[in-house]
Structure formats: structure tokens, C-alpha cells
Amino acid sequence: MFPLRRFLATTAKPLLQDVVIVGGGPAGLSLLAALKNSPTTKHLKCTLVEALKLQPVRDFGEDPPENFHNRIISLTPKSVQFMQEKSGSWDYLHQDRVKFYDNMVAYDSQDSDARIHFDASNVILDLGALSQIAAMCEVVHIQASLLQKIDALNEELPEEDQAVVIDEAKVVNIIAGNACDTIDAKSNPQTSLDWPVVTLSNGQVLQTRLLVGADGQNSPVRNYAEIESRGWSYDRFGVVGTLKLQFNDFRDIAWQRFLTTGPLAILPLPEDNATFVWSSTPELAEILVKVDEKIFPQLLNAAMTLDEVDLNYIYKMLKANPADMTVLEEIEWRTSLIPEEDLDEKFPVPISELMPGSRARFPLKFLHADTYIAPRVALVGDAAHTVHPLAGQGLNMGQTDVGLLVDALETGVDRGLDIGSTLVLEKYVATAWPNNHALMGVCDKLHKIFSTDAFPVVALRGLGLKSLNYFDVVKDIMVKAISGR
């Protein structure tokens, strides 16, 4: 208690807030926009703190560059609905940079007949709902749209209710307010609040009724709340980048091939643009980020079409020399053995170009926090969970979190409760945690089933995919599940 009291005595009186959100990623900004967009919660005093500069994000919104950014995610229709109805940021997206797709093909590298084709345009949905699997969108684009929405909401709100966004400020320190010492509280009411006190690198001190951690995998807020996050590293890396196709593909298909090193997905972007996510072993990822930018498009084409034996040979050549141009001939010769109608029908449009400098690599992990709440603390997005990207669910789970947290806070405000109390937050964790856990479990199992080359598993998963492909009813249910319905 002693150092705490001294701390409070020597600094300026902290600014009291209802909600302080740490982290200006899509989850944090969505929460701020949704709170200010809701008639029930718009009066709450909210501040968002982001360590990085947000001006580049705003610039993106004002005047987007021609080339696509390499951090791209797929938004499920449920997330799109959230952006339309809750955060209200959907209209601020440049629609020509968002790509919907309604078909998805997944196939196995070890059994060329084992493939499954989902077609969402067959799925009958409720009136007015989008019959799509997902929409591809840049992460920075989502952030930009949210910032614009927040600015627009601020213009309508009286000054004292306006949302505050502080960027270029790190959270230096979070301490509990003076919670237990109520006798002291009586004599000195100023220090009696048990609200967390957040000190920023710019010297500002905020004391908040509810502290929300939207601060990513290594969440300082989660550490402050002493919430364990459990999981494991997959010993795999994700490599991403943006691409140009040889010609515009009008089919709107997302392609995913399960290689033994991990799934490789080619996902459509507007016009002749595309993006890839290649989950791979650390060894292969090392090669992938080094391969010459001229060879890389052909390597991707090869990885989507050739057999694992061929691929391993090519990887070996590239490991020895990442700029070995003879690889191109090798790939061309091996591809020429595949019948042309197969190339047209069964595989994605060939890639012609890798956007210079767009390749990036990150480690894949499975992490799930034991709970998302503590007294006066809630976690959303990656601070709560990190998932294998193979089903494209990470950011969408974050959007679901935010939606459910806002629901819980609205109920709390309607009932006149203290929104930092676990009485209010319990509803959030009860609705969000179990679904996320189930979804993460499915992604994890898919990774495990497809990352092996053990014969019985390969045979079984091939049989599974092939037979499943004939059951449209089951596939339609799966499409609904993937798209978050």
C-alpha cells in the first residue's frame, strides 16, 4: 500500500474515465466506435490509448495507396453485419478495396482427388442477409474506417461525451486503485476508488471504471489482471504477401491447399490482385522469405499444383540458392505434365507477380486466456485468444468479442450497474468464451489432421473430404458455420 499512496500523492490527480481501451487495433477501435454508436452507452467517457502513430492509418483512409497492404484478413458476414449495425463503420470502407467471395475450394496435396468445394451462393439465408463466405479486407483499411466513424460520431456528441484517442503513447504502468483500505478511504475520498490507474508515457494518468485490454498477444492489461493465457506454439510460421494474377479471375474463389508443411491459401482481392497465407515449418519459412521475388510467384503456382515430391526437390534447390533461376525451368517442366483442363478447372489462376517487399513472416501460436474478465478488466481480441490462421477466424473472433462486450455493457447501463463490476462482465465471458474455445479447437484439429503424412490419416481425411463433397446439406451447414452464422 505504501508505494501506491506515495505514487498517487506525487503525481497529478488522475483523469477519471468510464472506459479506457488499451490498443488501437481493429478490436480496440471497434469497441470505441460501437460504444459511441450505441444510444445506451454513448454517454460513457471513453479513452483509447495506442502506442503507435495513427496518422498513417488516417492517411490511408483519406487517400488509399494503389497497392494492397500485406496484412489482409477475411471478414465473415457476421463481422460485416457487426460493422453495419453496431460499430457503424462499414460505410466508411472504400468498397472497391473489399472483395467478397462465395466459393471456397480446399484440397489435399497427397491425394489429388481429395477436394471439397463450398458454394455459398446455394445457401439460402434469411431475408436480406449476404450470401457470401467472407470479404477480404486490409487490416489498416478497417482501422481507418473505424477512426473515420469515431470522428464522425464525435462531431454529433457534446464535447464532454466525445471519445478521446491518444496515439504515440505507451502504457508505462497499471496499478490497482486503493481498493482494500476503506478506513483510509473514509478520511481521504480522493484515493478511495478501486479503479485501475493507468500511467502513459506522455505523462498522462487515467483512472478508469473499466479497463479493456485490446493490446494483443502479450497484453499488459492481461498481465495486470493476472489472467493466465495458455496454449502452445505450433512450431510453424505464417508467411504472407500480396500478389498479381496473370488475369482477373471472375470466379470469386478462395483456394486452400493442405500441404504437409501446413496449409497454403490464395485469397482473392479486387481485380487481378490476390493475397497468400502460407503456413509452413520454420525451415521452409526461412526459404520462403529469401526466395528471389522473380521466382516466388512460380513457387506459389508450383505449391498449389505439384506433388509433394516435386515440391521437396524444388525447396532443396532453393535452399541451396534462393536465386537459382533453373528452378523456373524445373517448375515449368513439371507443371507441363499436368493436363491443361485440370490447370484451368482445378487450380487457381496462375500468379504473375509478388508485390515487392510485401512478404512477411510471423510465428503461429494457440493461446487462450483462462477468462476474459477480472474486476474492472475485460479482454478482447488477440489479448484474449490467438488462433491458427487456417480458417481466417482471428479478427472475426475479436469482432464477436466486441459485440458481446458491448451487449453486456448496454445491459449493465440499463440496469444502472457499475460497468466495471464482474456482475456486468460475467455475461460477456459467459457468451464469448465457450464459442471461441470451440472454434479454436476446430482450427487446431484441422491443423493437426492436415499437417501429417501418416498413411492412415491421409487415407481417412481423403475419404472424409471426398464423401463430404457429395453432401450438399452438410456442406451448407459448414458454410454457415465458417461464415459465422
Binding site: P39, R415, T422
Partner: protein, 316 residues
Amino acid sequence: MATRSILRSARLQCTRHISSSSVRCHDIVKLTSASADEMSHFNALASSWWDVNGPQRILHKMNFLRMDYINEMVKGHIKLNDNVVDDEDKVYIPPYSLDLLPKSIRTRIQQEQSARRDEILSQKKLKALDVGCGGGILAESLARLKYISSVKGIDLSTDVLEAAKLHQKLDPELSEKLQYELTAIEDLPKDEKYDLVTCFEMLEHVQYPAQVLSEVFDRVAVGGWVVLSTINRDPISWFTTIFMGEHLLRIVPVGTHTLEKYIDQQEIRNWVEGSPYQDQFAVVNARGCAYIPAYGWKFTSSADVGNYFMAIQRVK
């Protein structure tokens, strides 16, 4: 709601005190000037009253239902198109169930209605009185509502009022809107009128509930509400509140309830209709509720069994 701890500490004083406007108990008043070790006692009580995972959790959970009920009654009975002259400005109220409409149209109508409702409420803010406020669970919640301008919480136990006041200091939002007073309802001046008077979990503990209700009715402004809750006098109530609640699960102390003092909802209706208040007050709604272990409180379909809430409005 205070009655549980009232009974623990000063049961007799409490019941007599409420039932007649007799002389104030001096020893209660004296307790307000607390010594140091009484303070620590209050602190212990405060922390247990407000420990949402502690012994009072069931009460905190019930508060959800109370607030939902109060909101529903107050908001649901606002005339949205009163004083609106121009037809163009009127909010559309369909003469059939909203559920029959497609979702997008339904939400649009609901949003429009609730915006108008908030507008009307923000113009006419309500003054609330919580009789038997205890540690202030309901009083704090009422004070946080935007349509409530002020809340007075009254109780007869110094201990719990002290706990309530201590907890109030933990939220700066409450400092101006909420006041506590150690007083009985009959000692409040009759010209002090309130738009909302709540007496939750109280009538089943007093000797003469009719007298208490009269005192409450005398302090309600025209258009104002009395929202109360108590328990029907039936075997199911005995089973849930006394056998399970007190003896088997020990959620509340043994002796908290007396079956003979429970009041059927029909009895309150009959009393209102036969009392001098019959022209002024109307029972608008009564609704049963039950505690379901591992879930919480839930409204039931019958107000004639077990616990129930009741809303009475002063119509003129």
C-alpha cells in the same frame, strides 16, 4: 431489502418502528457517531454486503430483475405521442405485434420509439425513494439511471446504512444523486412527493403492511409509481424461501422469514381496491419470479406462486 440484516441486528425495533409512527429508538440514532472498532465492523459488513461473489450474491442477482422490471414499467407506460400536435411528428406505433414485421423494419421502429422515450424521460426526470434500502444495491442502481434525478434511500439499521454510505464513496458518479437517511417512512414529511417509490423484500417482514403501504401511497406524486416485491403465502413459497433458502441451502439466515407474514398478490389488489386510495391508485402489473440455482432469477408465468413483483401507479 435491508430487512435481512435488520432482522439480524434489530428485528423488533424495525418491525414495530415501521408499523407505527412511534418515538424513534435512541440507541439507533446514537450509533451514527461511530468509534474506531465499530468502524471496522461496518467495514467488514460493507465488504460482505457488496462482495458480489459473497453471501449477498443472490440479492445482487435479484437486482437485475428489479431493474428490468422498473425499467419496463416506467418506460413501457410513457405515452409517446402525448402533446404531439402534428401528425408528422408522431412516432409510429403499430396496432399489432412488432414481431410480425421483418427484422430491419422492426428495429427501425424500435429505435425510433426508444429515442422518443429517452427524449421524454430526459425532460421529466424522476425523484425516487427506496424504502428499506439496506446496503444500497437498488438505490445505487437507480441513481445511475439517466432518467432519475435523485434517489433517497431510507432504512432503520445504522449498520447497513453506514455500509451503504461507504460503498457510495467508491463511485464518484453517485455522490450528488444519492442520499441515505436513517428514518422511517412515516417520519418523512407528507408533502415530500416522489415519482418512484420502491419497497423490495420488505412487506413480508412488517407487522401491519397495509399501514406501511398507506404511508408509501401518501408520498407518491401523480403519475408516479410504487414498485414492490414480496412473497405469496403458499406451500411453494415455504418450500423455496424457508425450507430450501434458510434450512437446506442456508442462503439466508434461519428465521429471516415467517410464513404467516407473507402476502398474496391478490390480497394487495383487494386492499388497494377497498382502500381510500382506490380512485387514485391502480395495480398495473404483477409478475412472479423464482430463483433457479446456477442460473439466477427468472420471471415466471404466474404471480400467484412464490415471489412476485408488483407495480402500482398513481393515476390521479
